[in-house]
């Protein structure tokens, strides 16, 4: 049963950084909640701050100011060691450019996460195998990234993110480098994870047709939220 309490709470989040002498306000006071089991799309034009927002949500970047809690835990101010552990055990992150280790096979790229969680090698491999089967790569476990297509690489990245069944899955334009057919397959996988396993997903995208898979859309422009609406099917 899903809780009504938001899993993510964002309040007045700001991220400013300097480029030369110019201060760029990538996020300029963003506030919203995400409930457990939601499939949220963050949309907006280039430079609107959506990737910056997702990186902060994934604990890869830090906000300049504002509050960000996950299950009422102030994750922004966690010590670095705890942040790494939290990212490992609670969050999944799918990068736009796959971010796979080129010298590791598909299964190694995935099971390294379980090893880090102190599972045995056998358990880790079994978990990774299941995750790869879930994204349809059960027959390509030993391929290295160079031997996989763009779509397959992205599926390995998804398998890595979901292998530990994280509370929240963040995806940064996961279909940016994929053709329409492969993009659709990828989004079907996200939808399945969301509907079948109740995975909370926050995805950055700029493609309108992707919204048919999500349950909520937040639009950003110039670092501010311009709209926040549910999608009813």
């Amino acid at each position: 049963m899903k809780s009504e309490e938001p899993i993510i709470k964002i309040r007045n989040l700001k991220r400013h950084y300097k480029t030369g002498k110019v201060i760029v306000k990538a996020l300029n006071g963003v506030s919203f909640d995400v409930r457990e089991g939601e499939f949220l799309a963050i949309m907006g034009p280039s430079g609107s701050g959506k990737t910056t927002l997702l990186r902060i949500l994934g604990l890869i970047d830090k906000p300049t100011s504002g509050q960000y809690t996950i299950k009422n835990l102030d994750v922004v101010n966690l010590p670095e060691e705890e942040k790494i552990f939290y990212r490992l055990t609670q969050l999944g992150y799918v990068f736009q450019d796959y971010a796979l280790v080129n010298e590791m096979s598909a299964i190694e790229n995935v099971y390294i996460i379980s090893l880090m969680e102190d599972l045995s090698k056998e358990q880790s491999q079994e978990t990774a195998k299941l995750a790869l089967e879930r994204v349809g790569l059960g027959d390509k476990l030993d391929r290295i990234p160079d031997q996989l297509s763009g779509g397959e690489k992205q599926r390995v990245a998804v398998a890595r993110a979901i292998s530990k069944t994280p509370k929240i899955l963040f995806a940064d334009e996961p279909c940016a480098n994929l053709d329409t057919k492969t993009s659709r397959q990828m989004l079907e996988i996200f939808k399945m994870l969301n509907e079948k396993y109740g995975q909370t997903i926050v995805m950055v995208t700029h493609e309108d047709w992707h919204t048919e898979f999500v349950s909520r859309i937040i639009n950003l422009k110039d670092g501010r939220i311009t709209s926040d609406k549910k999608v009813y099917k």
Binding site: R55, I84, L88, A99, N102, I112, L115, M116, K121, R160
Partner: protein, 404 residues
């Protein structure tokens, strides 16, 4: 910690297994040359030392030597001491010697030498003098007015051109000897000895009885030294203790004690060369291992960022690079040893030669080998740790996207 090691090992294994093979081979080859450099020159110097020490044992001092007490010119009661020493269980043989300075002249040439008075039959058991006579014969116990001259002073042996010599002395030549007490003698050259070493080839030998008569100490049982050979190598210290236990007032030295002083003098410049060579090797080696690892790590900066972003701990990343660095160094050491073996085999057939026949072979001692391996491993640990630690200190964004 154990999970960090497991993850570090997995990433290191993948990196080595699927990394660029040419780069890996190049790194290992360079490391093998660094290792070879660390062991080759010292082992060659060691080989030279062994050779010198061998000479010291085989000619000058045996395994244990007794010399006169301070203030004395001779060992008094030498025959009695000799009898007692020969009765010791661990003693193989012992011989007394007399030593005196003299000048030898032949035709218009004159050289200063040390003349050794030996008991020829005893000398066969304690030294190699009787076995290095290249021309003619060794002395007999009854020899009088006969002399063995070293090849360098005879002017016939290798190295004679750099010393004053008598100019082509032959067997049967008559040479004039003038001793420190102004006594003049004429000797017939019975043999020419060639040990390819100054200690033997710049000296001359006459019989003990002959020198006793020259010095006017006949029947006084005196000697300049007593040279002793032990039955088994390693018993020198025991034999020395036993001799001292006999209440002898004279000085007793093992060959190690004698060699230490001699080699210290003889090898000071070699040691400097060795130390300078080692320091240069270490600096070059450490820099190279560091540069290779640093470039390797920087090339994988993005990968390190990715690993951190997906939850892999910085410790795992550092351990991974230490494993990679250790792998390169271990392979470098193995290849270095193979190269050293080939070089040693080559030098067995083509040795480095001094004076035409003094052959130097590299001698690799376990302590030097262990020291060099330890140095290489320490360098690799530092070179594996430092660059990866620096990169893991960067933020994930900087590492993955090289953000300014």
């Amino acid at each position: 910690m154990f999970k960090d090691v497991k993850v570090g090992f997995l990433t290191a294994k993948s990196s080595v297994k699927r990394g660029n093979k040419k780069t890996t081979i190049f790194i290992i080859f360079v490391l093998s040359l660094i290792f070879l450099n660390l062991i080759f020159l010292p082992s060659l110097i060691n080989g030279m030392m062994k050779l010198f020490v061998g000479f010291v044992q085989d000619y000058a001092y045996g395994d244990v030597v007794i010399e006169p007490a301070d203030g004395n010119v001779y060992i008094n009661d030498a025959d009695n001491i000799l009898t007692k020493i020969r009765s010791l269980n661990d003693v193989e043989a012992a011989a007394k010697r007399l030593t005196v300075g003299a000048s030898l002249a032949y035709e218009q040439k004159e050289v200063g030498v040390t003349i050794l008075g030996v008991v020829p039959s005893d000398e066969e058991k304690v030294s190699l003098y009787p076995y290095i006579v290249k021309e003619g014969d060794f002395l007999g116990d009854l020899s009088r007015n006969e002399i063995i001259v070293g090849a360098m002073i005879a002017g016939t042996g290798p190295g004679s051109e750099i010393y004053d010599n008598l100019g082509e002395v032959k067997i049967g030549s008559l040479i004039n000897a003038t001793y420190g007490n102004n006594l003049k003698k004429i000797y017939k050259v019975k043999g020419i000895q060639e040990g390819t070493f100054e200690l033997t080839d710049l000296n001359a030998l006459v019989s003990f009885k002959e020198l006793e008569s020259v010095l006017g100490i006949e029947g006084e049982h005196k000697a300049s030294s007593i040279v002793i050979r032990v039955q088994k190598a390693g018993e020198e210290a025991d034999v020395k203790s036993q001799i001292l236990g006999m209440g002898i007032k004279d000085k007793v030295f093992t060959w190690q004690e004698k060699a230490e002083v001699l080699i210290k003098q003889a090898t000071q410049s070699m040691s400097t060369l060795d130390i300078v060579s080692k320091i240069v090797s270490l600096i070059i080696g450490a820099s190279l291992i560091f540069i290779v690892n640093y470039i390797n790590t920087l090339n994988r900066k993005k990968e390190i960022g990715i690993l951190k972003a997906v939850g892999v701990s910085p410790a795992s990343v550092i351990i991974s690079y230490i494993f990679i660095s250790l792998f390169y160094v271990m392979m470098g050491i193995i290849l270095g040893l193979v190269l050293f073996l080939f070089l040693t085999l080559y030098l067995q057939t083509n040795p480095i030669t001094f004076y035409g026949s003094l052959k130097i072979y590299p001698v690799l001692e376990l302590s030097l080998l262990m020291q060099s391996i330890l140095i290489m491993i320490t360098m690799s640990l530092i070179a594996g740790f430092l660059p990866s630690w620096l990169v893991t200190k960067e933020s994930i964004l900087d590492a993955i996207w090289s953000r300014e």
